[in-house]
């Protein structure tokens, strides 16, 4: 009789989620990692192949803490390149969903909403590629209980499309990609050039 499958195993749980089905097919050729731009551009520790190995070997804590789990933006450059047709971003998303389920928090920045100026037109909701924004009734000082855009940090990948689409400029990215930083940087150059 074939061995019963232990549904508590990380690999089994990943396989049960959409996109994770072919997890075990990975033969570790590394195409996904080298196709991915995150390792060279953002984080030298990023490695989808390693994350798949961690899932295969039930290294749950390592997988959830892995930077790969949180940085994948599901651009799916790797998916068409994978010779085993593994939907890598599906696997990563499955791991991420399991991590969020267990209370892990996305360590990366996400978009921030200025609830005092948001008019809840829903443009950000429409353009978000990750369905991370929704309109939620919120108590805003001076404005009462009104719907305002609310970002789910577990889904937001900080691409900034919401900010570019927002007419009331109520949503932006933190730190160096904030509207005010970009505009200040722009003017610093333009002013200096003229002087």
């Amino acid at each position: 009789m074939s061995a019963p499958t232990d549904t508590n195993l990380l690999s089994e749980r990943v396989k049960a989620l959409p996109g994770g089905e072919f997890l075990m097919m990975c033969y570790s050729c590394g195409t996904c990692t080298s196709k991915c731009m995150i390792q060279p551009k953002l984080d030298p520790n990023y490695n989808p192949r390693r994350l798949i190995r961690e899932a295969v070997f039930e290294m749950e804590a390592e997988a959830f803490a892995d930077t790969t789990t949180w940085l994948c933006s599901a651009c799916d450059l790797c998916y068409p390149a994978c010779p085993q047709k593994i939907h890598i971003s599906g696997v990563i998303n499955a791991v991420k969903a399991l991590a969020v389920e267990q209370g892990w928090k996305n360590p990366n920045p996400s978009a921030v909403v200025d609830i005092f100026t948001c008019v809840a037109c829903g443009m950000c909701v429409e353009v978000c590629p990750y369905q991370a924004v929704s309109l939620v009734e919120t108590k805003v000082a001076g404005r009462g209980l009104i719907p305002v855009a609310t970002v789910d940090p577990g889904k937001c990948m900080a691409c900034g499309m919401c900010s570019a689409a927002c007419r009331s400029t109520s949503i932006s990215l933190p730190t160096r990609h904030h509207d005010k930083e970009i505009i200040a940087d722009l003017w610093a150059f333009l002013a200096e050039e003229a002087a």
Binding site: V119, A120, C121, E126, R167, D179
Partner: protein
């Protein structure tokens, strides 16, 4: 009181008496006969002042975002106002089921600039018949064909009929000719770059930054406009020519795919700036590139809320 006005009064009185709406937005008489003003009726006994004619310049949809979502609002709507309400529903500024629209097929609005320019400022009353406008002075009355006095944006109007009103009063009008509507902007687009720029500079220079256009527009409902932002300051908010230009560029561009061509901005402008030259260009692009016309229903999102791999690609030059 005209026949239409009495029909409307009866309808509105019913709505208010039956408590079907909390407030009814319409027009009432004002001191100047040329400028009926928006009114917010909550009781049927207030309707004595009610007025509805071709001098009612405002787009009443502009008041909708000021009410909480739960308010039940009644409105008299023309074609453009109906479309504006539709789009406000798309942008979740109000729930469609909380708006009761009484539709009136629109004969076109009389442009008071044209009126004053032609007949002077001494008129005491302006009345309308089917195709004519009657201007009364203390001692005499002059008739003029309505067509000659209509506002430019009404001359271009394609959809004068309300599209989704709950009740429609009056006879439907024939749809306008879309090509006619586009000739003016097309002719402007055909000018060379320098000429267009010279025109724009000249127009924008007259601007006095009163923001009447912003207030009149049903789509300008932001609690804080981008020009009023402190940090980052997107553009100069002083009365400098460059700042004016920036204001007009962004004001118009924020209407891309959202403008219902009602012309309220232009009618509101004290300096007579031809703002529709900007928005109509964008409307035209939305039509040709994305087959989108704003406000035709209350479901379709504007083009900038979506994107498509097959979009017309001018990205790589």
């Amino acid at each position: 009181m005209t026949d239409l006005e009495s029909k409307l009064t009866a309808e509105i009185a019913n709505l208010l008496d039956d408590k079907k709406v909390d407030v009814f937005i319409a027009f009432k008489k004002a001191e100047s006969p040329l400028h009926p003003q928006p009114a917010f009726f909550t009781e049927s006994n207030q309707l004595g002042d009610f007025v509805y004619n071709s001098l009612c310049q405002n787009n009443l949809a502009a008041f909708i975002p000021r009410y909480p979502l739960s308010a039940r609002i009644g409105m008299v709507v023309r074609g453009c106002e109906n479309r504006a309400v539709n789009h406000l529903v798309v942008e979740k500024q109000h729930a469609r089921e909380n708006i009761f629209m009484i539709g009136v097929p629109c004969e076109g609005l009389v442009d008071w600039h044209k009126l004053v320019n032609r007949f002077g400022e001494e008129m005491i009353a302006v009345d309308e018949a089917k195709d004519e406008i009657m201007i009364s002075y203390r001692d005499r009355q002059i008739r003029a064909p309505r067509q000659e006095l209509l506002h430019d944006s009404c001359l271009r109007c394609v959809h004068p009929n309300p599209l989704s009103a709950d009740v429609t009063i009056g006879e439907l009008k024939p749809e306008g000719d879309p090509t006619l509507a586009r000739t003016e902007v097309a002719a402007f687009s055909a000018l060379d770059n320098a000429a267009r720029h010279a025109w724009f500079r000249k127009e924008a220079e007259r601007c006095i930054r009163c923001y009447a256009c912003r207030e009149a527009c049903p789509m300008c409902y932001c609690t804080e406009c981008f020009v009023d932002h402190g940090v980052p300051r997107w553009t100069e908010s002083t009365v400098s020519p460059a700042g004016m230009r920036a204001w007009h560029i962004v004001r118009a561009f924020h209407q891309a795919g959202r403008c219902v061509s009602c012309g309220a901005c232009e009618r509101a402008c004290p300096m007579d700036i031809k703002m529709t030259y900007l928005t109509e260009k964008l409307n035209e692009d939305m039509r040709t590139k994305y087959q989108f016309e704003c406000g035709m229903d209350d479901k379709t999102q504007p083009p900038f809320a979506a994107f498509n791999l097959d979009d017309k690609n001018r990205f790589e030059l």
